[in-house]
């Protein structure tokens, strides 16, 4: 398993995911930097993501939508707070209308991603999700409802069958 550790703090309303990937940091960074790669993992298989705008510069915006089984679209936005390629990305993640404009009535999560290449060539990724409030957490967890029942876990087998780059 590539998820090494998950630390949940119900009081501080944070969750930290630590994962390791058998690839150099530059390669792992691309799953964030390249919108075509990002859209292949951000949404669950039943709600694939499409990146409309993807500007990873300080103050830059990302606009994406996820398409559900019935063709329903759910839009989201990021605002890049800071970026230090290929090591660090901090952004706000929120809900949007279908033009990508942030919905001010729905909560924003702060995401802090750090990548760290280990001596053995394995890249460790920390993702800290920070909720502004418990209401925010509720909303974001509502999104996770769909995820919880996806076939995502079934993808592990496919993962193990794939060969790693030379």
């Amino acid at each position: 398993m590539t998820v090494k550790h998950i630390q949940k703090d119900p009081e501080a309303l944070t969750m930290t995911v630590t994962a390791e990937f058998a690839a150099p940091v530059d390669r792992v960074w691309q799953v964030w930097e390249n919108p075509r790669l990002l859209e292949r993992w951000w949404g669950p298989p039943t709600y694939p993501a499409t990146m409309v705008d993807h500007d990873l510069t300080p103050g830059g915006r990302v606009h994406y939508f996820m398409t559900g089984p019935d063709g329903d679209q759910h839009h989201g936005w990021w605002r890049i707070m800071s970026i230090d390629a290929p090591k660090r990305l901090e952004f706000e993640d929120g809900f949007a209308d279908d033009t990508g404009a942030p919905n001010p009535d729905l909560p924003v999560t702060i995401m802090r991603v750090t990548l760290d290449e280990q001596p053995d060539g394995v890249t460790r990724m920390h993702i800290v999700s920070e909720f502004a409030s418990r209401e925010a957490m509720e909303e974001v967890l509502a999104m996770g409802v769909e995820e919880g029942m996806t076939e995502a876990l079934g993808q592990i087998d496919a993962l193990l069958e794939n060969t790693r780059p030379g």
Partner: protein, 152 residues
Amino acid sequence: MMRALVHELPTRARRAVHRCGPADCVEGSRPLTYNQMVVDLIDAQETDRLFSALADATRRDIVVQAMRGEHSVSNLARRYPMSITAVQKHVSVLERARLVTKERRGREQIVRINIDAIHHASHLLDELEDLWRGRVDRISELIADSSEGEFR
């Protein structure tokens, strides 16, 4: 984002699953049905009380103490630099959040943990954990795929 879907659930379905309180949901927490998870999330008021209650250091400590065994309110009050009345108030907040129960025994009020509520709090974070486990799996798959031409 999926909020809209949650709200579109038929009323009947919601009512049916609403019988599943935190205790019941914890009982069968893996695997969960979609409806059970929804009810956890739409029961916002209860969850709001839960996290409000846990937002205070004294109350978190009372919860920790209660997890170790039952305590009287006066016994708890000795631990904190505050009046018994103040501790009573904290216990009441925890009681409303269903984190603890309080029972009168003679002249004492005995505080006990409600372990189901604790499970409920961690269960909500489990949902988020599932989201990220799925994402990490998908990243791994992408990275491991040698035929991936989109990498530089």
